[in-house]
Amino acid sequence: MTKFLQTLMDGVAVGSLYALIALGYTMVYGILQFINFAHSDVFVLGAWLSYTLAVAFGYAAAGAHPPLAAGLLILVGAMAACGLAGFTIERLAYRPLRRAPRLNVLITAIGVSLLLQNVGQLKWFFGTQPQRMPSLIDDKILAVVAGVQIHLVDLAGAGTALLLMLVLDWLIFRTRMGRAMRAVSHDTAVAALMGINVDAVVSFTFVLGSSLAAAAGFLYAMKYPGLNQPAHATWVLLGLKAFVAAVIGGIGNVRGAMLGGVLIGFIELFGAAYLSPHLRDIYVFSILILVLLLRPSGILGKAVAEKV
């Protein structure tokens, strides 16, 4: 029972992070119909920026007790910075290729991804050594349920992720901007005819997706303080799994991304706990292949026939 509960808790915690990243993928795909390979690197950027900010404020010193507001400040700071990064990337690298063949944009996305990773590793930026994220929340054990310790950090993390997802949901389904986003993702040309500024909507989407990724990065750094170097393969794998989550939920579907994220978290952790931890990455990719073969539109997606 302990093992089940522990795995469940961890699944939710990890899954909510996947969901946050998956949202960025799915929104961009919905609007522009392409996979933004560089998205996971914005997530990494968010994590490392959080670290840099925390160190800059002096919280890395032993015995430092940062106030609760500090954590929020760093979170907002990282989100803003990554939102800006996302905006810049879209403006400089993707907008010129709006009319280009899809293959070109994909290649550019890969280029941006590798650029972010490898520039991040240079000594003037984050360097090649793993670092420890200073803890911004005093780690308290809130309760012990059936042998499973519930930590404040985990609860705060999952809670923040949930909150952000609710805000996004409200944004997309209850505001004008959200309506514009949905219109553009439905049919770009007609949306433009209706007077929607497509460029502004696209930029907004990127900013939104990037800030969510940054939040995921911050929360990830809180949960797993030992940060790997920016170009480490594990980040790429994480981004990939988040993308799989988006696909499984139905790419282009925001609620599908949230669902997919949590599902992938469960699959990965339950597979690792009950089947074999050696193959944890394989479970996720196998699910991807299954979904692509059997129901390519995903769980909440609609099968769209290609009209000639």
């Binding site: 302990t2 093992k3 522990q6 795995t7 961890d10 990890v14 090649t128 050594q129 793993p130 670092q131 420890r132 780690d139 310790q149 930590h151 990830y220 797993y224 303080p225 030992g226 790997n228 170097q229 480490h232 393969a233 594990t234 952790l269 690792a272 706990a273 931890p277 050696h278 944890r280 990455d281």
Partner: protein
């Protein structure tokens, strides 16, 4: 490219010329020191290591140690009057680059001996080239047995993983009084897999039991699944035979899950980043290592002082091994009648009781080093000496 028209042929010729120019450029670039190897003049030795990549401290530390040794030997008059020079190539942690680096060192730069590598898989790649060309190679820190099995040109100055596994098992049984041990190893690193295997064999032979063996992939952040399983088996000690990059992360999660059993690791933990990442979680954990800076022997203290003066930080085990490997090589060079590959290899092979920083080194018939290991404990972030365990 096929030449089907005059213009096509012209382009092809141009391309070939460009190619040839490029190649001779590459070929001739390093040839400046050609011919300086065996006769009079400077002695050139080569070092290949991971200067960049995820285990960058490994290569950098080793290189620092080697350079310190070279500085000393040159200040003392060189080897039979000749100064020693070093050529270092970065292999970026990749075995293909390791092979290329050693090929270039030997065929292009014409070094008389090669030092390297730390990671056993890279030593295997580079070692085969050295063996092929008959140039002696000394690995400072590769602990996998397969490395010296390549051939009679390959040596090492560190202990082997089978020995290290036994050392850890002995410490766990004798000093920690552990009856049950759990293992969490890195399935992507042969070093980690091997060490886990050797520990298991030794621990069982010494009367203990292994409760569970769990695996992770290097760089993983989430170990909750594996640690939950480990927690359920209530071990007395947890073996984590991976690199420092993961050990810190694992320690944090071990303590977060409420596991209080002590953790035990191998020489892969040796890095200043271990405590930086692990923080309070890794306090009190143990690991086996090649040496300890608290060792009161004069060789060690002199080395630590000089290293601190030159590089501004305390030397880790890899720096010490790099230093010893280079000094052992120079000792062999002095004893050898010539610097020819075979003779130099024979001189290295006959090293006995060489006074190294990491202990007395004797090269045995398998070209491995017979020496002792130390156990250190992380206290206030610093690896502190606990005990020495000599080979049986």
């Amino acid at each position: 490219m096929t030449a089907r028209t005059p213009s096509g042929r012209a382009t092809q010729i141009a391309a070939v010329c460009l190619l040839a120019a490029g190649l001779t450029g590459c070929g001739g670039g390093g040839g400046a020191s050609a011919g300086a190897g065996k006769g009079g003049g400077t002695i050139l030795i080569g070092h290949y290591g991971s200067m960049t990549g995820s285990e960058a401290t490994f290569g950098q530390s080793t290189d620092n140690g080697v350079r310190l040794a070279i500085k000393e030997v040159n200040a003392a008059g060189g080897i039979n009057g000749r100064t020693v020079d070093l050529k270092t190539y970065d292999d970026q942690g990749k075995s293909q680059e390791a092979g290329t680096a050693v090929t270039r060192l030997i065929t292009d730069d014409k070094v008389v001996a090669v030092l390297g590598e730390v990671a056993s898989s890279l030593s295997l790649a580079g070692g085969r080239v050295a063996q092929q060309y008959g140039v002696p190679m000394i690995s400072p820190s590769s602990t996998n047995p397969a490395v010296t099995q390549i051939g009679d040109m390959i040596f090492r100055v560190c202990f082997l993983d089978p020995y290290q596994g036994w050392v850890e098992a002995k410490f766990a049984r004798d000093s920690l009084k552990a009856q049950k041990a759990a293992i969490l190893y890195d399935q992507a690193q042969a070093y980690s897999k091997g060490l886990a295997q050797y520990f298991k064999e030794a621990f069982v032979k010494l009367g203990g039991t292994i409760t569970t063996e769990q695996a992770y992939t290097g760089g993983d952040q989430d170990f909750s699944a594996q640690l939950t399983t480990i927690r359920q088996t209530a071990p007395d000690v947890i073996l984590v035979p991976g690199y420092y990059t993961d050990a810190g992360n694992i320690a944090i999660q071990v303590r977060k899950l409420g596991l209080t059993a002590p953790m035990l690791g191998g020489d892969g933990w040796d890095s200043s980043q271990l405590a930086a990442i692990g923080g309070s979680a890794i306090e009190g954990s143990y690991f086996s290592n090649h040496y300890s800076i608290q060792d009161t022997r004069p060789e060690v203290q002199n080395f630590v002082t000089k290293y601190k003066a030159d590089y501004g930080r305390t030397p880790d085990g890899l720096a010490a091994l790099g230093y010893d490997a280079a000094r052992l090589l120079f000792d062999a060079m002095k004893r050898s009648a010539s610097l020819d590959g075979k003779m130099l290899a024979a001189a290295i092979a006959s090293t006995k009781d060489f006074p190294g920083v990491t202990g007395k080194i004797t090269i045995d018939e398998n070209r491995d080093a017979r020496k002792s290991a130390v156990i250190v404990q992380v206290k206030s972030g610093i690896p502190t000496y606990v005990t020495t365990i000599d080979p049986q």
